[in-house]
Symmetry: C2
Subunit: 598 residues, 2 copies
Amino acid sequence: MKLSQYPIKTLKEDPKEADAVSHKLMLRAGFIRPLASGLYIYLPPMWRVLRKAEQIVREEMDKAGAIELRMPILSPRELWDQTGRFEDYTRGNNLFYLQDRRGVQLVLAPTHEEIITSLVANEVRSYKDLPVNFYHFSPKFRDEARPRGGLNRTREFPMKDAYSFDVDEAGLNASYEAMRLAYIRAFKRCGLEFLTIDADPGAIGGTGSQEFMVRSESGEDSVITCDTCNYAANIETAISKLATPSQDERLKDSHIEHTPNVKTVDQLVELFHLPASQMVKTILYEVWLKGSKEPEVIAVLMRGDFDINEVKLGKVASKMFNRPLAEMAIARPEVVIEKTNAQVGFAGPIGLEGVKIVADESVRPLKNFLCGANKTDYHVLDVKIGRDFAEPKFADLRNAVEGDGCSRCQNGKIRVTKGIELGHIFKLGTKYSRRPTPDDPTGLSATYLDKDGKEREIVMGCYGIGITRITTSAIELYHDKYGMIWPITIAPWHVVIVLANSIDSQQLEVGTKLYQELNQAGVETVLDNREERIGFKLNDADLIGYPYKLIVGKSLKDGVVELKSRKTGEVILLPTDEAIEKIKELVQKEFAKANQVE
Amino acid sequence: MKLSQYPIKTLKEDPKEADAVSHKLMLRAGFIRPLASGLYIYLPPMWRVLRKAEQIVREEMDKAGAIELRMPILSPRELWDQTGRFEDYTRGNNLFYLQDRRGVQLVLAPTHEEIITSLVANEVRSYKDLPVNFYHFSPKFRDEARPRGGLNRTREFPMKDAYSFDVDEAGLNASYEAMRLAYIRAFKRCGLEFLTIDADPGAIGGTGSQEFMVRSESGEDSVITCDTCNYAANIETAISKLATPSQDERLKDSHIEHTPNVKTVDQLVELFHLPASQMVKTILYEVWLKGSKEPEVIAVLMRGDFDINEVKLGKVASKMFNRPLAEMAIARPEVVIEKTNAQVGFAGPIGLEGVKIVADESVRPLKNFLCGANKTDYHVLDVKIGRDFAEPKFADLRNAVEGDGCSRCQNGKIRVTKGIELGHIFKLGTKYSRRPTPDDPTGLSATYLDKDGKEREIVMGCYGIGITRITTSAIELYHDKYGMIWPITIAPWHVVIVLANSIDSQQLEVGTKLYQELNQAGVETVLDNREERIGFKLNDADLIGYPYKLIVGKSLKDGVVELKSRKTGEVILLPTDEAIEKIKELVQKEFAKANQVE
């Protein structure tokens, strides 16, 4: 491409709407333009990056034995009703769907489990047809409540999703491991540094899952790592050891105190000069169990300085009632008032009846703590479990925090950082393939006949990569104050030829020749032949982050051009007639190194 | 791919739901599976064909200087209101759109003029930024009333669409010509035989357009060609010379006849033993002009043996009222009754008042013809224009028919065949880029400053290719009773290795080695190592249409394998140790030939 014929300009200033570095740089460098909330046009350089990332992922999927096909974006609602996910997704208003001219509702797929499982249910007959792993690249649609972070959370985004089908759990484990390794290879080839962490399966469901995370301040996920061993997990599932502060061991008698309008932990800290770690919050939740219309109410006791982890709580609540959960939310004020006979802010475990109580493990060792009195404007001090109220069920319900002990090693300390989720792999089991039963009418009946002719449910896994996340991660990881610094494998182009003076006929001639020959040699090259100052053009080149700038300027009279690496800043002078070979060699070497991922 | 690990089977019988050959074969060979009406899953072989066709189109677009990007599928309705196309598309219920969680209506783009024009309106400032041509591949969505013909008319389909932006008409003509040539090259490289024909711009709008058509009985378009010169056109716009039958030149006096319940031309032919070419049909149309709520009514006179061409009629009607048309339809019965004072079936030009009359040129030379009497159950015979009613406006309003004279050459005769539309190119002019005016508030104001600093409207073209149409056309063109016969450039794979006996360890070993080596050599190869009879496997290979079958069987004991061409049936015996080189050479030669399209 010759830039003189390219109309999209870079921006000098950071756009106001952007927060994340990658978002700012993508707007400034002309990689994306917003069309509407959460909807972006991928401009030519961005689209090149995305296609390269897609191709790397494709190659690794193929190597791992997965087979590419393509499923539609639109699919009939009935499929989604059959698995119960129409209800799951629409409850959060996340699903885009429409009605066609005949009144049939069609879903814009946010993911393709239903569609691929219905295909496999029709095609697979016997154990001989398994295992198989189908994947595709396709835009996905989610009506996000708060699209943000540039491309990190949009309403339409390109995704690679793969679905494995096995005869049993052992087969699933092998398919899952093959995908895990393929993901690692793909992300490494894209030049990314990332963590593989334990994660929660969430709305997709299933029995186990891992995420691939890039550390970044612009990420939306909290990632827990150990500073000593290699433990890493999403905060949703991370388990850590409590570092209990020392406390006065002498038991005092409990006493009620008037605390008018004092409702929050911070206010109580100020009023009583007591640390938050000496307080217990009592939070009521409403829990809708699958199949029941009326919610159950539970009370959660949490140490004042910790946060409730709702993923953990959901699992514990499901066990408490021995039923799967449909939804869970902090109780509405009217429910709190009804159950505690007090305004919101004064709930406590003492005398709380008609609700199940569950306490975080951090509450267990506490003595002489403060809690709500179930009476508006009153709290109770110097409370003790077992004396002032019956010992509740205990469980790990809190978010890990910086400084916690590692649960996997002896002396490790927990660190909390933000991360961008690149990919997520799931052991689904039979959630989608199951035969519906009167007890649970969901499932698409994807079964096979085993060696003995017995019908069995196929065991599934699913594996997703957000292709735009690869791009944003690379930018977040590799940039400086001048702009992006692309890894060679996913750079939009490898080289930009900058003419110091575009109206100098010799420079134009040599530059154009180099441009044509480099492209012919497979080195993707842009010619900056715009009639602009050299400084302006070099700034653009740094902003866009081409791995190499080839400057055709005054040194041409000595038969020399100047090659500068974006990453190292290193400059090499190349005789014009050797430039093509040298650059080709350099680029090939970098590719070889990047693709060496065993 | 090894077929022993592939679960999707071919079908022996033609599926009942399929009509077109390509539809039958795609279902039987495991290329597609229906998900819902007009929605298909593209199975692995189909997806490979589509990706290859896409890549060929991409290469030709790039060579022609077009620049690839990617626009979203979802776009806000306001853009479509701004051009008036929301109304145009929803009038026919063809548009898929939905409402998001905030109540904003989003359109699933059936085409991307609005989106690209709004981008260019924001980015382009000066004549120096032009010309530019942006293209993308993306799924398109149309809520077709009658999805059919397998992949020829679906509700979600992959398309390449390009949009050129120029400073003036001359620039547009150059951009258009570059696209026309790129299309010809791309379709030739896909191995297709096709026609380039004059066409109607239809809903896209603009001042000129051409279509690329493949002749096929399963096509939905009627293509007119001359048997002598190279004239070719879509029936919508085709102009031909009338071959007037001889008629009795002696004028008779007109007379009214009682024709109870006789309404159609066929019934009249039977009753009066008069040829249909001696009759004139009078058809009333309601015409809605842009911006007016009330329709106008026109009467069209057409010779009894010809059909009205509504595309031609629409243009003529627009000229008659000197206003653009919003919609046109055959008049409702109540309108016919009001205007003719007769039941439907008895309209005629004599005494018809309050409607404009326009007659097809075929009516002009008629003498002594029959027409309706504007009186229920009556017709008039031996009518003459100018004597029995005032001479109307004449225009070319009929569909060309087989046997008409060519309008371009002296002695050519017109042939009418069915065709599949592969692509369509349009000179849009300023339909989308125009600045809204009080008279016509549509347009997206995509303008530039010319050399004198004057603001001008950008002149646009747009260019579409239906990628699945390439596939169906190739199948329709190249198949036999055994199955598909793929051109090498878009074949899902180049070679299938058929093991005569998959449990013969020597065959398995040699076959697997050839399979690996061929793939390494860039020859895309499938290994049929299924434990099935050789006949079954060869039938599958013929159905799927691999260009070459490499049979590893008994001749192996003589160190020989057998290569058979799907297209010619030719068999070559290859020494096993030379097979890789020979096949690679053969395939490369075929590619070189296919890509030689200058």
